[in-house]
């Protein structure tokens, strides 16, 4: 389904100074407004879904901007409502109050619709300092800002869904650092780059295990001689001097940024990879993790 922002957003669905005091109140007002202009969607279900989603993980995507959203069964096309508030509403206890609420409802049967809208909204707001803008804007300014967007996102690409600021390590980093990064950041794979930002390899949790258990130990079915992890001692003894370049894996899966996102789904299944490296030439521009990708697609 082709989506253009101006088709989803009509002027009366922009609530200038929404007048709510709490997050849930703001969500209900915006959904009410959408229900007035659009027949045939379950207002109560939408409100409920939005509130639950925010409660699990608030959707503050940038300073002063929240992007509450829900996927609904009986919806023909995506709907967007916008609310502004100069004084700000707290969406996330740990973050600044929100001045701009972009509420998005999408049909459940189109998992990528939300991501496409998200991509369009992000590109609009890329250079906008939202709190300053909202404090001086009129309703016309806001409508024009979003209306002006001519960009048409036909389909999502790897560049749209990737994490463009992944955790990386340098070739010269030690095993010790890799262990602490892998474990403390709770990731399974970390791209290894050189000084120029070119991808040189990937280090995954299995590489740590493989460094300790060489192939010929895997031939044994009976593991009694190593029940106390004896072979691991050697690796740990020199974790400060072993460089990542010595044992990172070089068979990673990579795609260019303009790869269609659906292709990523295929790559994940075909290659059994957990992380796809997005490369512009040799340069690492981002990564797509299986977890993040599926979450964005089905739930986020």
């Amino acid at each position: 389904m082709d989506i253009q922002l101006c088709d989803c957003l009509s002027r009366e669905n922009i609530l200038f100074e929404v007048g709510a005091t709490s997050r849930d109140d703001a969500l209900i007002r915006l959904v009410d407004q959408l229900a007035k202009t659009k027949d045939g969607f379950d207002e109560a279900a939408a409100g409920q879904a939005l509130k639950e989603r925010e409660a699990v993980l608030p959707t503050v995507i940038a300073p002063g901007v929240a992007l509450p959203h829900a996927r609904l069964d009986a919806l023909e096309k995506p709907l967007v409502a916008i609310g502004t508030t100069r004084q700000g509403i707290v969406f996330d206890e740990d973050k600044d109050p929100v001045n701009l609420i972009l509420l998005v409802l999408t049909p459940k049967i189109d998992p990528s619709a939300y991501l496409r809208i998200l991509s369009m909204l992000s590109s609009i707001l890329k250079d906008v300092d939202v709190p300053t803008f909202v404090s001086g804007a009129t309703i016309d300014d806001i409508y024009e800002l979003f209306k002006a967007e001519e960009k048409f996102v036909d389909y999502l690409t790897a560049g749209d869904v990737m994490n463009s600021e992944p955790i990386t390590l340098l070739e010269g980093d030690t095993l010790n650092k890799a262990i602490s990064t892998l474990c403390s950041r709770r990731v399974l794979d970390i791209p290894v780059v050189d000084e120029e930002g070119d991808l040189r390899g990937v280090i995954g949790m299995e590489d740590l295990l493989r460094q300790s258990l060489p192939q010929h130990l895997l031939w044994m079915e009976d593991l009694t001689p190593i029940l106390r992890f004896e072979p691991f001692a050697e690796m740990m003894k020199k974790d400060q001097e072993t460089k990542l370049a010595d044992f990172m894996s070089e068979d990673y899966v990579s795609v260019p940024p303009d790869t269609p996102a659906v292709q990523l789904a295929k790559v994940f299944l075909m290659s059994q990879a957990r992380q796809i490296q997005v490369l512009d030439g040799r340069k690492l521009v981002g990564v797509v993790d299986l977890g993040g990708f599926s979450t964005k697609l089905f739930w986020a």
Binding site: Q215, H216, M220, D222, P225, P231
Partner: protein, 492 residues
């Protein structure tokens, strides 16, 4: 398990059609040419299909089995082969022998036997680079004698890769040394190489014949191969020595040392080997047909293993047995049998004797050189399958045992000449490519490969010439007339 099908890569449709046309063109023109020169229709068809199989393995390594399937179809359609002879010539006992050995190897891996070998090599006291490579190469050759060359090279390559990885060395030269020695070692017993058991069956040679005549020749040839390859790669070995010493001085080991419970694995292997070694004695004591116990010994041992390891039995049969290759061998043997059945090999043998006479001093080097050069470019099993009936025919006029050994050594040592000469080469280079993304060029291999093969063949030639007067005459060997007759079917 053997992963030998990585060779050749992907073919584009155009290449595929081009090669197929070339294959059909050559084999059909030889077929029609043969018919014009007086071969019968059946003889032409058999020759033509056999040639297609040879070309098929050269052009389409990845689907040589498909070519073999089609070849059998052609032979049946042209009445060159009937089903009865197909079944008989497929050498089922040889196939089952290989199945049994592959199952035993799977169990040995599970039991940590190969881990133990690797660990034993690594715990040699005061190790140096040269010592390590020499021991590894010899171990690889002897392991090839005990199990088979492909299994041996898989385990030995893994060790070499790990050590080179730790020492940050390019593994290619060391892998080449080990593979060349493994090919030499595979001639030592009938388990070393499928051609060993095939020749053993065709020539009614026993395990002790191999130990008495082939093993000593192999040991000498192996010595020469270790020496010449280590001289050839002396610079690389210097570097190995330096890196290893540096690492040892810093008190860093090469692989984690683990005490492996090797008892069970070693027992299984030794019992199997003893069973095989005693086959001739048992056959005589029980008045069984020659080599009947030899061929079922691995199956019986595999059966016992599968009773003890019931939960893994299915895995052994399905994953450890290289069915793809075995099916190819079956069909190949049947097609080669057709050459004998239609009388083509008789014609070849007559031509052979009229050209080279019946003097062993000429026949030994000629057969060895022909087989070696042939095996360098096509699968040595194909070459041996084609040559075996010729030698059987020669056996009517000359003392045949030295010729069988010449065939064996030519086929095994000739595998060293090119990097596609034996399955072990292909497997080891495939692993090198996969793990280190490294290619060995055809000529890089050819130089040292041909040199080592040449020296080994000279040694074998000399030894066979010296030994042949002591080898038993055809009539002295205890082969019943019935078996002899069966081995020489009359032409149509």
């Amino acid at each position: 398990m053997h992963g030998s099908d990585d060779h050749g890569g992907e073919l584009s449709l155009k290449q595929l059609i081009g090669r197929m046309a070339l294959l059909l063109g050559i084999s059909l023109s030889v077929g029609f040419g043969g018919a014009a020169m007086g071969l019968t229709r059946q003889q032409s068809a058999a020759t033509s299909v056999f040639l297609a199989i040879i070309l098929g393995t050269l052009f389409f390594w990845n689907f040589r089995l498909a070519i073999a399937f089609l070849g059998i179809g052609v032979l049946i359609f042209t009445k060159s082969l009937d089903i009865d002879h197909f079944v008989k010539e497929a050498s089922l006992p040889v196939i089952l022998f290989l199945v049994g050995m592959m199952i035993i190897v799977g169990a040995l891996r599970d039991l940590g036997f190969f881990t133990w070998i690797v660990q034993s090599i690594m715990s040699i006291p005061r190790i140096t680079g040269r010592k390590f490579i020499a021991v590894t190469a010899v171990a690889s050759a002897l392991l090839a004698c005990a199990v088979d060359e492909v299994t041996s090279i898989i385990f030995i390559s893994t060790l070499v890769f790990q050590v080179c990885n730790r020492l940050k060395l390019n593994p290619a030269p060391y892998i080449i040394i080990c593979v060349l020695c493994t090919n030499i070692g595979s001639a030592g017993t009938m388990m070393g190489n499928p051609v060993g058991i095939y020749i053993g069956t065709k020539a009614h040679l026993t395990f002790s014949d191999f130990i008495q005549w082939a093993f000593p020749v192999m040991v000498l040839a192996l010595g020469s191969c270790v020496a010449v390859t280590m001289w050839w790669y002396r610079k690389e070995l210097d570097e190995f020595d330096v890196r290893l010493k540096d690492r040892m001085d810093r008190d860093l080991s090469l692989v984690p040392k683990v005490k492996v419970p090797y008892g069970k694995g070693l027992t299984v292997l030794l019992l199997t080997l003893i069973f095989i070694a005693l086959h001739h004695t048992l056959e005589e004591a029980l008045q069984l047909d020659p080599n009947s116990i030899l061929l079922v010994a691995p199956l019986a041992c595999a059966g016992i293993i599968m009773i003890f390891k019931r939960d893994r039995a299915r895995h052994y049969v399905e994953a450890e047995v290289d069915w793809w290759t075995l099916l190819f061998f079956m069909l190949l043997f049947a097609i080669a049998g057709t050459l004998a059945y239609t009388g083509v090999t008789k014609l070849m043998a007559d031509r052979f004797t009229s050209t080279f006479g019946t003097d062993l001093n000429i026949l030994i080097p000629v057969i060895m050189a022909t087989t070696a050069i042939g095996s360098a470019f096509v699968d040595n099993v194909i070459f041996v399958a084609a040559f075996a009936p010729v030698i059987e025919s020669l056996g009517e006029s000359v003392k045949v045992m030295p010729l069988w050994w010449a065939l064996l050594f030519g086929a095994c040592f000739g595998g060293n000449i090119t990097l596609i000469g034996s399955t072990a080469n292909i497997v080891a280079l495939g692993m090198l490519e996969k793990n280190f993304k490294m290619h060995v060029s055809f000529f890089q291999w050819l130089k040292i490969g041909a040199l080592s093969a040449l020296i080994a063949c000279f040694i074998a030639w000399g030894m066979l010439t010296v030994l042949s007067p002591w080898m038993p005459e055809n009539t002295e060997r205890n082969i019943s007339a019935a078996v002899e007759a069966e081995a020489h079917p009359a032409g149509h």
